[in-house]
């Protein structure tokens, strides 16, 4: 088997590093949002229970619902990035003789 193109290995590492950084950053955002919600509920009960919007809803409910909406939103951002950038890059790398396991 011929050696992979000289830069292929480095290129893979750069690409994969990018994926972990993006995945890691999005994980961090999710964790901050979630544990932020939990800490608000656990340590700032009066704030979480404060009523807004004419007494129809509390800050805690709004934040909780926002975290629920955020989860699929972050997922969508990642999937869009991976479909548009990661997959084509992997395809190109493999076409250029990246090592095939």
């Amino acid at each position: 088997m011929p050696d992979p193109a000289p830069d292929a290995t480095r290129e893979i590492h750069r690409l994969v590093g990018r994926r972990w950084r993006i995945g890691g950053a999005l994980t961090a955002v999710m964790m901050i949002a979630y544990f932020g919600f939990i800490l608000l509920v656990a340590f700032a009960k009066p704030t979480a229970g404060e009523l807004v919007a004419g007494g129809g809803v509390s800050i805690g409910i709004l934040v909780g619902a926002a975290v629920i909406v955020l989860a699929p939103l972050l997922t969508a951002i990642y999937v869009r990035w991976a479909n548009r950038h990661y997959d084509p890059a992997v395809k190109a790398l493999r076409a250029n003789g990246a090592p095939r396991p």
Partner: protein, 509 residues
């Protein structure tokens, strides 16, 4: 007055319809189930949308439908803490786990952990934690099933447990993953349609304005209904539960197994995105159902039927849609339990036939025929075990067991899986020590917790004040994995990392 608990014609018709259709699918699937890949992974032919629904179906248990709606109807805001916790693990699966897992493995998550490590020890430890999670989750589901079906249909507890075990056995034994996937898809569809219809009926009473619903709840039960309540008496408790829920989702063997049913990593990624949206939507809907039940049915009426408030959603269906709608929702709840139990059993059978028998006993040299025979025997054994455990634990309060299953999944499976994919110096010993520590420390700390040590065993004081041990056991499992790997390096495993690395990111072919 409610007709709940009396034989309900609509419920029986819907339920029989569900069972007949799913058994028909099982018959169809059985003729397509020839290889182990068909049996464990549906031949890898499931599409992203199908797997998205199937993942949601595997995950949305009766505990999340009836349980959360009940908890919200009882205490308002507090139910939201569970809903959020049960959802936030899904993005983590997308960002960190799904794609590498799909590329590295074949049938179980142990495939990915053991990829560049020594097979036998890792497989034994992973099968151990898988079977622990599956067994404990099964107890919670079976006991819940018996009780719920008794309440919903007036069927005797043991008969209900036997029916659930028996029908589930038919699905898995003959139809394998193909049938189980379709059961999940149909169940997820029915559950989403039923819950959404019910929520729309609730909101129609309030001009389709959730704020008017919340305001009415406040008028009836006071401001506290929109604020954190008893659940958060101990702040540390909530954080610990949160850790277990978030990382436990990413370590549930029956969820992880689903990523092998799709053709490639890209489909795996898209399927989690669908699942996350469906599950998030579902939890928003259950929140409306809980408030709707407390306002339109009333807490006293809900409590008089079941002290655990689990019947909030069915009672709401009866108030808003009559006996017919109650029947439909009851049948959906029954179908929900059946589907979850089937998924759990299949993942347990995979751990036994693929990890233990195939890799530990036969050292990876096993014929298709033999593996299928072992898988089917394991399925029968697990189904019998599920029925037996359901009967043994009759009348016990098993609510804590779902939390325990998540704690084990978060501490035993998630750290080892993540480190095996990301850390070059991770070793066989580190993986085994981490999985064993995660499993045993979770079991031990739950035993010493207020729920078991005090409430169940009758001791005056709990040894550990935490109900869920996640805040201790998850970091502990990571720590043990890292320390053991650093003390006893494994050059061969480190060398294999490059190959594993390329494979998990560039794909398997």
């Amino acid at each position: 007055m409610t007709s709940l608990g009396e034989p309900n014609v609509v419920a029986i018709v819907w339920f029989l319809g569900f069972v007949l259709i799913t058994l028909g699918i099982t018959w169809w699937a059985a003729r397509r189930t020839r290889t182990t890949s068909d049996f464990f992974a549906a031949g890898g032919n499931v599409s992203a949308v199908q797997n998205g629904f199937a993942l949601a179906g595997d995950y949305m248990s009766a505990a999340s439908f009836l349980g959360i709606a009940g908890l919200v109807s009882k205490s308002g805001f507090d139910g939201l803490i569970y809903s959020v916790g049960w959802l936030v693990g899904w993005p983590v699966i997308t960002f960190l786990i799904a794609e590498p897992l799909r590329n590295l493995g074949k049938y179980t998550f142990a495939d990915a952990v053991a990829y560049r490590l020594r097979q036998r020890p890792v497989r034994i430890a992973a099968a151990g934690s898988t079977l622990a999670v599956v067994t404990i989750y099964l107890i919670a589901q079976m006991v819940g099933a018996g009780g719920l079906i008794h309440l919903l249909f007036g069927l005797p507890y043991r008969a209900a447990v036997a029916i659930v075990g028996g029908v589930m056995l038919l699905y898995v034994l003959f139809g394998g993953m193909i049938a189980t996937t379709w059961v999940q898809i149909i169940k997820a569809g029915l559950l989403l349609v039923g819950a959404t219809l019910l929520a729309l009926l609730v909101l129609s009473k309030f001009g389709f304005n959730p704020l008017a619903l919340f305001a009415e709840a406040r008028r009836q039960y006071g401001d506290g209904v929109l604020a954190p309540g008893d659940l958060v008496a101990q702040p540390l408790e909530v954080v610990s539960l949160g850790i277990a829920l978030m990382f436990g989702t990413a370590g549930l063997p029956h969820i992880l197994m689903r990523f092998y049913t799709v053709p490639d990593a890209q489909t795996a990624r898209r399927s989690v995105a669908y699942a996350t949206s469906l599950i998030g939507f579902f939890y928003l809907v259950t929140f409306v159902l809980g408030f709707g039940a407390s306002v339109l049915v009333g807490r006293d009426a809900i409590k008089s039927v079941d002290k655990g408030y689990n019947m909030a959603a069915p009672l709401l269906a009866e108030v808003l849609g009559g006996t017919g709608f109650l029947g439909f929702i009851s049948a959906v709840a029954f179908a929900t339990i059946l589907a979850v139990v089937a998924g759990l059993t299949l993942s347990g059978a995979a751990a036994i036939a693929h990890d233990l028998w195939g890799h530990v006993i036969r050292d990876g040299k096993i014929t298709e025929t033999e593996q299928l025979v072992v898988a089917r025997r394991a399925t029968v054994a697990l189904a019998l075990l599920a029925i037996l455990l359901g009967i043994v634990f009759e009348g016990q309060n098993v609510a804590f067991m779902v939390g325990l299953a998540f704690a084990i999944a978060a501490s035993a499976n998630f750290p080892a899986l993540l480190l095996s994919m990301t850390w070059r110096r991770f070793t066989t010993r580190g993986a085994v020590a981490s999985m064993v520590t995660g499993t045993l420390s979770s079991l031990l700390l739950i035993t010493l917790s207020p729920t078991v040590w005090k409430d169940l065993l009758g001791n005056p004081e709990a040894v550990i004040p935490l109900k869920n041990p996640g805040i201790i056991t998850v970091p502990l499992a990571f720590l043990v994995a890292i320390v053991v790997s650093l003390i006893w390096p494994e050059p061969e495993a480190a060398r294999g990392f490059t190959d594993a690395h390329d494979r998990m990111h560039l794909g398997a072919d």
